[in-house]
Symmetry: C2
Subunit: 241 residues, 2 copies
């Protein structure tokens, strides 16, 4: 899926961040592509790409206006993700970037099949940063999420996490959907081998509420994507503002 | 993530579908593993594996009861997915099975990079059925979702879809979260190259409402997982029953 693109050179600028589209482009968007008020676009200018939203000018007199829109969500989702083997963790990173993660903290869990020695952390961080950067570009986000160095679960208390904290655990009480919840949230998803009782106890003491993402057993990358997507949606992503 | 497993041989059966756990197992579950009322388990008997839920017997007098629970959701999510190249579509299948899809209809879209000739449909169906079956087992679902033969978008009207229909389209009005919506829903996710205007028009005429899954541009497999997961959650998965 990709956003429709509109070249702005032939449109009339209105202030710094809005353009009144020429009639031909307007016709194409509304009649051919069936775009509607509020739809998003990429506006193209020489050397610039803007995220824009379609507005109808009052009385339609001036025509269709595309206005630049800040694309970043207001909310912030921290993901604490049990370390997985190479490709699975790479996919987890790319997919959670697409669904709006803000900070990723890899956790070296007792049951992580993957492990990482201290001297391998710098090259691994480079690789992860590259993957996060590429996914950021591809999905059209303006700013890259932050990826932290891997930590054991025992270091979670030192992270300075937001006060709303959840841990995905199959078989727990189901997550209750709501729009417009808190502005910042942390969600933890375990490794392939799941959390140990000790790890769950540490997270519990830190105020992480156990939630289930559904009745089925999800693989870790799927659970991470679903958790981040749902919490993102519960913040600002899916409200009408 | 995996469900805790409990061997039931040493527990006392109560009727056909409940077991009162022996004190040692009870202690382990509640004190060591910190399980709570309503948590899910796999109950193991020779040659059988049951999905069970933890209950506290009235007054705790008899001890902890594990009761067999039907694991399938009451709701049903149909996924209409634009055909993708081999590995991406395989991953879409496995991940959407994990998050609870009920029927998958591959769509041969104008902008699908992948195409499929009629004689290659039978071996492809075999491959897809195997992937769906494996994912079903791994995620602990009792019944495999159904996978249909690929169809062009023009055949969507003949599918007999549920009346609540959505199409994921970047830049549309955002999906509004709600718990407990309709019992059956169809959601369509386009191929890598997105829908054409003609395809969106066919879907629009069939009553598909355009929704956005978030402000970022998601790859098709990610969009499919998020769409199915969120609609599943909005049905029965995330309500307290």
């Amino acid at each position: 899926m990709s956003l429709p693109r509109v070249r702005l050179e032939s449109s009339i600028p209105e202030g710094d961040s809005a353009w009144i589209l020429d009639p031909e482009e307007s016709h194409h968007l509304v009649t051919v592509r069936r775009c509607r008020e509020g739809d998003l676009f990429e506006g193209l200018l020489p050397g610039r790409k803007l995220l824009m939203r379609l507005e109808l000018a009052p009385g339609f007199s001036k025509g269709i206006v595309l206005r630049e829109t800040p694309e970043e969500r207001k909310g912030k989702v921290w993901l604490l993700a049990g370390l997985l083997k190479g490709e699975a963790f790479d996919r987890l990173l790319a997919q959670t970037v697409e669904v709006g993660v803000s900070v990723i903290v890899p956790l070296t869990c007792s049951r992580s099949v993957a492990s990482i020695t201290p001297e391998r952390i710098p090259p691994r961080m480079k690789r992860w940063e590259r993957i996060v950067m590429e996914a950021t570009k591809q999905c059209g986000r303006a700013h890259s999420p932050e990826i932290r160095e891997p930590l054991p679960v025992s270091s979670v208390p030192s992270l300075g996490l937001p006060s709303h904290r959840f841990v995905a655990a199959t078989g727990s009480a189901p997550l209750v959907l709501a729009s417009k919840v808190q502005d910042e949230v942390a969600v933890a998803v375990g490794p392939e081998g799941d959390w140990t009782a000790e790890e769950l106890e540490i997270l519990g003491k830190e105020g992480f509420q156990r939630v289930s993402l559904g009745p089925n057993v999800m693989r870790s990358p799927t659970a991470a994507v679903v958790a981040v997507a749902v919490f993102s949606m519960m913040m600002t992503g899916l409200s009408d503002d």
